[in-house]
């Protein structure tokens, strides 16, 4: 009666969605390189897809549940609240990039994304910390929930990307490039995971 791999179907759909969006990213960038689309179109397209990726992750977050225990109801509520917020943030980010004039989109989209994602992460952490039980279950990067860890890293990466967009707008291209290198190294060497795990682990 026990489901052998409870997260498998959701993980499969999520993987297909993420890979599909990655292919779309690559297609837009390739189209720009071959001068099939202009710089503005490519920028709008990639940014809109980034928002969509955040929305997809938010949608599936509550489905990637933990093992049943006394805290599941509360943690499920945290996931649902964060998921809804991430969907709204992602869609708002995409709509701004698709509909607003390029200058306005550049100015406000990243701020909307940063504020929205920050609020979601704060709500998520606040509700999750109220839950009782083992800390391993509360860490969204717990080893028994590898898909959750992957989603957490994607959300963190998008959050960082919003930040890099904003750095680019305020301090220019060079500062943004250095930030991107530093963040990439942090994630590559696993720096992001412990920070994220600590953030969501019970205090």
């Amino acid at each position: 009666m026990t489901d052998p791999a409870p997260n498998k179907p959701a993980a499969r759909v999520l993987t297909i969605a993420v890979v599909g969006l990655m292919i779309a990213f690559a297609a837009i960038i390739a189209a720009k390189e071959f001068n099939l689309v202009d710089q503005a179109f490519a920028r709008r397209g990639v940014s809109a897809l980034l928002g969509l990726l955040l929305a997809v992750c938010g949608n599936y977050l509550p489905k990637l549940t933990r093992q049943p225990d006394a805290d599941t109801a509360l943690l499920g509520r945290a996931d649902r609240a964060a998921g809804r917020g991430l969907i709204l943030t992602g869609l708002a980010f995409s709509v701004i990039w698709l509909a607003a004039p390029l200058g306005t989109a550049t100015a406000i989209a990243s701020i909307v994304g940063l504020l929205g994602a920050s609020a979601c992460i704060a709500v998520w952490a606040w509700i999750a910390r109220r839950a009782e039980g083992g800390s391993a279950r509360l860490a969204i990067t717990a080893t028994d929930t590898a898909v959750r860890a992957a989603v957490a890293m994607i959300v963190l990466s998008i959050f960082v990307t919003f930040g890099i967009f904003e750095i680019d707008r305020i301090w220019g291209d060079q500062a943004a490039q250095w930030s991107a290198i530093i963040f990439s190294l942090m994630i590559a060497f696993g720096g992001g995971a412990p920070v994220f795990t600590t953030l969501f682990r019970r205090g």
Binding site: M1, T2, P62, T65, P68, G83
Partner: protein
Amino acid sequence: MNTVFKALSDPTRREVLTLLRDGPKSAGDLSAHFAVSKPTMSAHFAVLREAGLVRSEKQGKSVIYQLQMSVLEDALFGFTNMFGLSPADATPTPEPPQSKGQ
């Protein structure tokens, strides 16, 4: 997606999902809320599991069910509750066909 619509179309199954919002519950606890037979409840649980709206785990002798809905499925659940039959209007689901030996 068809399986999700099918699962959400039945008021008893929607009521099960509502009960699971408070946290994981055993099959026995859930069945106690409905005046239907065990095989019928099992059929409902199977539909919900097949749609991926709940997951089950065996703990000792009981099977524990836990909500597992995405945000969009949750929204769809809200819509069906709002515009469909309310759980209070739930009519008994027809019994699954009995095997000949019984």
